[in-house]
Amino acid sequence: MGANETGLAASFDQTLFNQWFDERFETRMAERDAAHVPSLAIIATKGTLDWAYPPFILASTAGALGWDVSVFFTFYGLELLKKDLHLEISPLGNPSMPMRMPFGPQWLKNVNWHIPNVVMAGVPGFEKVATGLMQQTVKSKGVASIDELRDACLEADAKLYACQMTVDLFGYSQDDFIPEIAGWIGAASFLPQAQKSDVCLFI
C-alpha cells in the first residue's frame, strides 16, 4: 500500500498534468460554446406604437439569428398581443419625439414642429393625427409594421407569454388575444426562464 502510493507520487508530473488539463479544458469549453444556442428573454411593458418596436425588432432578429426567444408581455405590453392591434402614439410629454410631416416638399418635411403641450393636450384627436402621421412615416421609410414583426417572431418560434394577472386586472378576455400565445403565466414562471437566458431585457 505504502509502496504503491510512493510509486504513484513518483510518476505523477504536476507540470504535465496541468498542461494536459488546460488543453483538455480549452477543447471542452470550445465544444460547449459551439453547441450553445443563445437565448433572449424580454419583458415587454409598454403598449404604445413607438414602444411596440423595440421588443418585436429584437425578438424577431434574435429569432432570425437562430436564438431561443421568449417575451413576457405584462401591463400595457399586453396590448401588443391583441388580435386587432390599435396602437397609438402620444407626443404629449415626450420632448424627444420629432414632429415632422411625412409628406410634402423636402423643406416642409425638414421642419420640426414645436407644438406646445397645452395644444397637444387640448386639441381633440391630436393623438389620432400623430398616430396617422407616424404610421405614414413608418411606411415611407420602409420600416416594418408591428403586425409584420409579430408574425416574424411567431414564424421563428419565439415564445410569447401573456401575464395572467394583467388580464384579470384590466378585465380582458383571453379571446381578445392571438391564439399563438405560448402561455398565460405569472412572474414566478417567467423568472426562471429569464435566469437561464444569455440576454434579458426589460422594455
Binding site: 425588432i57 424577431s60 432578429t61 429569432g63 432570425a64 439569428l65 437562430g66 421609410k141 420602409g142 420600416v143 416594418a144 409584420e148 414583426l149 416574424a152 414564424e155 421563428a156
Partner: protein, 76 residues
Amino acid sequence: MSTATQTLDARGMNCPLPILRTKKALTDLAKGDTLAVVATDPGSLKDMQAFCKQTGNELVSSSENQGEFAFLIRKS
C-alpha cells in the same frame, strides 16, 4: 448575381426587414445553394456580416454600388 440559386430584392426595406427576409429565403434553399440579396439599408452591410457569422452561413461577397448593397450568401 445571375449565378445565384435565388435572388432577394430587399431595396427600400429598413432594419430588421432585410435580415428577416434573408433568413426566410435561406430556409427554402438547400445546403450549398446561393442567395443573392440587394438592399438599400446602409445598416445591412454590418448586419449581414453579423447574421452570416452567427448562423454559420457563408458570406461569399458583399459590395456597394451607388447606395445599393449586394450580398451573395451560400447556405451551409
